[in-house]
Symmetry: C2
Subunit: 422 residues, 2 copies
């Protein structure tokens, strides 16, 4: 590719430079590139040769120039690669859909590889008739499609005691947003016939960790889905192929992957993942338990430590994500000065309950340092708190449910850093 | 995997079979599997061994058991692999999002591989100031996100003279639906300053075919986007990476990929792709030209020739897609008997203008042969015509803009075939 990439013919360049204006100069009002942009005059290699045909890519992959856009982990966070986590590159994405290949995931015994013809889901416990479904059986119930975010309860967990991880991929990347296709868990429970003393369900995974969580029957009968597709295609292996539970607005570990069994009981099970894990130790030694709902939260994804401002001063687009487990996010505020002045961001794209929302804030940057923050207001009227407000009520022992306001310091060169303002 | 897959321990199986009911029997009311399903009792290999860790898949891929879910071509349709087309596997998908790896694509000179730092977009012609944008320049304009379908004008083109291709992937698979992130073309044109005699634009691609199409300025200033992301991530190479034009509701070849230049003119250019191609030759020898809008259309994706009914009689879910270049599709009808009786399907998921819509129709199949059809009604009141109604006004010379009603014959075994009813 390099060979054909030489300088353009001098005559052609001279001909046009007088009349060409660089787009950047117009947008920014700051760059003085009115002499024109020779790159448009070059006949690039891709305009000279025939590209690869279609058949080489029956299932398409990203451009070779996007190889840096991947899920990443934080090595010191999880020593054991089998019980691990990785993070969505939020700073490289836009809109509200997370592509399946970039959805963060957390597992407790590696990725189960389940043969779909061997898949079974059992409903047992306090039911009239214990019942077993094949994958094909499940697809014969009425299907629904919903765009929902899934956030790990530990998202932003490393930030409880102060700014630590330098990038929104690591501070906020345990969230994704896809369109699920599935059937209501309610229909399956009705088929089995829940007994009158049935008040809770236990969802159990088919992987080697047999992940289990207790869920109140009220939620199970409300909007939970037994899902088999994400963004149109089959669930990915690391997302529970062929079937996962979808628990809209609630913490991610309850969305049991490789779903194998739903047991109906009269009280919660108090298993490991709802006692020693996924609980919040308060300052006075008591623990908050069954903290299911993900409260309203937002984060500026660009600029951020992994995505500095590279164009210099002038017109700048700030963008980010907001979400709430309790409904929609009709409003996000943005501050450039660490919370002294707030201005309303522009919300864009479909506003759907328990789904990510995209916001933008456009402004002319004068090149002075910024203290960027965003603050979500959800449809219940709840406003995203500061980290210090959270600490006042929860102490500093917690890992989970940190929905505090995030601050990025942007220096005069556009580089961004994770900081806190008091 | 096979080795651990042996029969379960007899004692465990015996213990539970008395109380287990197979889900299929309950759903279908037809299968007699009340003896229970031993597969739920087996301890499967994936429950015994730790799976692969996360780091092996920084960009995730589908399950090994989904290898058959790919874009496919029709060899006899395009002899030249460089100027080719492939088709979305609609029968394997659900919901309304097409995953990026499965979006059909058509190109005229192979897939251009463009280095994003070398990307330039020029606006010239009847403008005050010719202007050149880098990719970074484009991202400094206000961004928008929209879920839009893209349909090739030739989708269903082989069906004009009768039922021919046996599968909805091939009859209707030149359509996909993704969320685009981009900037309004209007903002770029305003920056260049369109002269008062500017009435049309020419969109030109940077690939070796230099694909060009004339578009009326009114559309360009209305809802066209210069897009750089699809479903959250960068455009795929075969979809125009790094930048394509989005022309909502209009035929796919106008959505110029690898967008290199927008020229403003006072009349259309009458280039190859709007004269010898992408025009409809009528029976009387005249040709319809500039037939941009994709009229309302629908297709049943399941069952269909590639996706027969495999569960036998009983409760059956019919599903399909509907769309209109003129707005939303509030209603789809389904017939089981070739159009004698129509019943309203259940629409599901977000209903967005110029986006795919998903419909379902659940019924108890008695095992008798079916003549399945769907019929879309769009928000303007337009109703999808039969193929014969289309032929009456357009003759049989056309390739493009066949939005006629599709028929699948389903035999008593559940196998489906592409047929026509008169």
């Amino acid at each position: 590719m390099t060979e054909s990439n030489g300088p353009p013919a001098t005559t052609r360049r001279r001909f046009l430079t007088g009349s060409l204006v660089a787009g950047g100069a117009m947008v920014a009002g700051g760059r003085a590139e009115a002499a024109g942009d020779p790159a448009i005059l070059e006949v690039k290699p891709w305009a000279q040769i025939l590209g690869e045909g279609v058949d080489a890519r029956p299932y398409g992959t990203p451009s070779q120039f996007e190889n840096h856009v991947v899920r990443r982990n934080v090595p010191w966070l999880t020593a054991d690669p089998i019980s691990s986590v990785n993070f969505t590159p939020l700073h490289e994405l836009d809109g509200i859909i997370t592509p399946n290949g970039l959805c963060f995931e957390r597992h407790h015994a590696g990725i189960a590889e389940i043969e779909p013809t061997q898949y079974r889901l059992m409903i047992n416990g306090l039911v009239e008739k214990p019942i077993v479904f094949t994958l094909e059986d499940l697809k014969r119930f009425p299907r629904e499609n919903h765009l929902y975010f899934l956030e790990c309860a530990a998202n932003s967990g490393m930030e409880w005691r102060g700014a630590q991880l330098n990038g929104c991929q690591f501070t906020h990347g345990m969230v994704h947003n896809v369109m699920y296709t599935g059937v209501r868990l309610r229909h399956l429970l009705e088929r089995a016939g829940v007994r009158t003393n049935g008040k809770w369900i236990l969802a159990e995974g088919a992987d080697a960790s047999a992940m289990t969580r207790s869920i109140p029957l009220e939620k199970a009968l409300d909007d939970c889905l037994v899902a088999f597709k994400m963004n149109g295609e089959a669930l990915r292996p690391e997302q529970g192929y062929p079937v996962r539970l979808v628990v809209p607005g609630w913490e991610g570990n309850m969305w049991v992957k490789w779903l194998r069994r739903i047991e109906v009981g009269d009280e919660p099970w108090h298993h490991r993942e709802e006692t020693s894990k996924y609980t919040d130790l308060l300052a006075d030694g008591r623990a908050r338990r069954f903290t299911w709902v993900m409260d309203a939260k937002s984060v500026i994804t660009n600029p951020s430590p992994q995505a500095p401002i590279t164009h210099g001063r002038g017109h700048t687009v700030i963008t980010g994500l907001a979400w709430s487990g309790r409904g929609t996010v009709p409003r996000v505020d943005v501050t450039l000065d660490g919370g002294k002045n707030w201005r309303q961001a522009r919300m864009d794209g479909p506003s759907l309950p328990m789904s990510l929302h995209r916001f933008y804030f456009e402004f002319d940057w004068d090149g002075r340092p910024l203290l960027l923050q965003s603050r979500a207001h959800d449809s219940t009227g709840y406003v995203q708190p500061t980290k210090n407000e959270l600490r006042q009520v929860r102490g500093e022992n917690s890992i989970y449910h940190n929905n505090g306001i995030q601050t990025w310091y942007v220096n005069e060169k556009g580089a961004a850093e994770n900081v806190e303002v008091s």
